[in-house]
Symmetry: D2
Amino acid sequence: MSNLTRIGVALDSDLLDKFDQHIAKRGYTNRSEAFRDLIRDELVEQTWERPTSKVVGTVTLVYDHHVRMLNEKLTEIQHDAFHTVLSTLHVHLDHDNCLEVLVMRGTAEAVRRVADALISTKGVKHGRLTITTTGTGL
Amino acid sequence: MSNLTRIGVALDSDLLDKFDQHIAKRGYTNRSEAFRDLIRDELVEQTWERPTSKVVGTVTLVYDHHVRMLNEKLTEIQHDAFHTVLSTLHVHLDHDNCLEVLVMRGTAEAVRRVADALISTKGVKHGRLTITTTGTGL
Amino acid sequence: MSNLTRIGVALDSDLLDKFDQHIAKRGYTNRSEAFRDLIRDELVEQTWERPTSKVVGTVTLVYDHHVRMLNEKLTEIQHDAFHTVLSTLHVHLDHDNCLEVLVMRGTAEAVRRVADALISTKGVKHGRLTITTTGTGL
Amino acid sequence: MSNLTRIGVALDSDLLDKFDQHIAKRGYTNRSEAFRDLIRDELVEQTWERPTSKVVGTVTLVYDHHVRMLNEKLTEIQHDAFHTVLSTLHVHLDHDNCLEVLVMRGTAEAVRRVADALISTKGVKHGRLTITTTGTGL
């Protein structure tokens, strides 16, 4: 934790009103905390633009485990990348549908490649990569 | 699984080129599969617009577990919503930083409310809600 | 939490010495806490003797995901029991070996049946059921 | 996978009957598979006797998250051992009770030390270490 600096930000009052309403709905009790979150979010996004940055990301997949060989293919992709995939949480949504969340850590390039391979696999109903951070320096 | 229908889509050839390059990079070997994914993604987004839709979502949080009482606050929020939070995967990134992924299921409104409460908690360095689907009807 | 009652326990001094050494090694700073843990452990075991008791258990499996159809079989068993299996954590140990931990909740009978089916599946290198509790009444 | 060797085992017929009944109840369709599992289980146990063996283990904990500072203490122990703790799955059993399963990898000595520290923490209602294997050589 570093020292707190107070800065001024000039804002159109209309824009500020909308922002205040937005963050109130989001549960913020403090405007500065909301600004800090926006800045950190930008910095996280930026990190992901350099292919060699060390990043952390999660991939969320929903699929029907009855699709022939789908399970095998997804497991194969994950094991080929086992240095990148830290762990996977599997929730059985119903008799057919699975949700899987993978936590990955590695270069932005490596994490994206694994995510793309999983999400584009035929039979995956919905897949999304969520980019985040190792937490260091934020 | 339903029957396959073949439809025609009229596309500017420039746009098609870009799309083909994009999906090749993403790992698709089949243009129709890429289109199906785009459509399903739209439908998932749409579901989330109705507050009472039954949805599944994941929340990814990165935080420093040394921040006073942060852990307690995040656990409290999750337990108050224990009907919505199915399970949480915790990965210890380093001596200070934690990554947590929560899998939630409930109405779009309830899932968003829990996500907002967690992400806006002071001390959370980065948080994102990833919206997905129960898989039913897709 | 209920009131604390102090009771006397008569013990052979040799046995007490061994017990004290044992719990010191286990990290207990307090002999009463160690006794309480022994009692709770007994009560948990007892609960599992009645087939209809509501219990919580975890199953730990290690297997080689290259074994033909093994993944499919394990997923099938879990989905057939999706009301009992709350969620599954998958860790990729190396290029070949997977560790899976399932959290289950249900009657002692149902949880045991799923655990037995998983552990006895050909190709599973090591499997164990760990019995625990819903926490209620302990 | 290595070649299959067929060996003879001399057994009292009473003992064999009991064993056959036991493994039938456990879901085995094949007596040899049941024997292989017994042998592997023995080998896993043996590995854990050498403090420096590389092992994998899971710890299952049930606790009331309302107990003052319990959450913080358990997180602290896990982070101090973050090289050993691969990941943790948290399930919210009800408004009060949490189940946590940790997957650990390291020397038998290190894994046991972390397990003991967690299980002996005051406020943990039930805790168990489940020993297993990295899968290599089995």
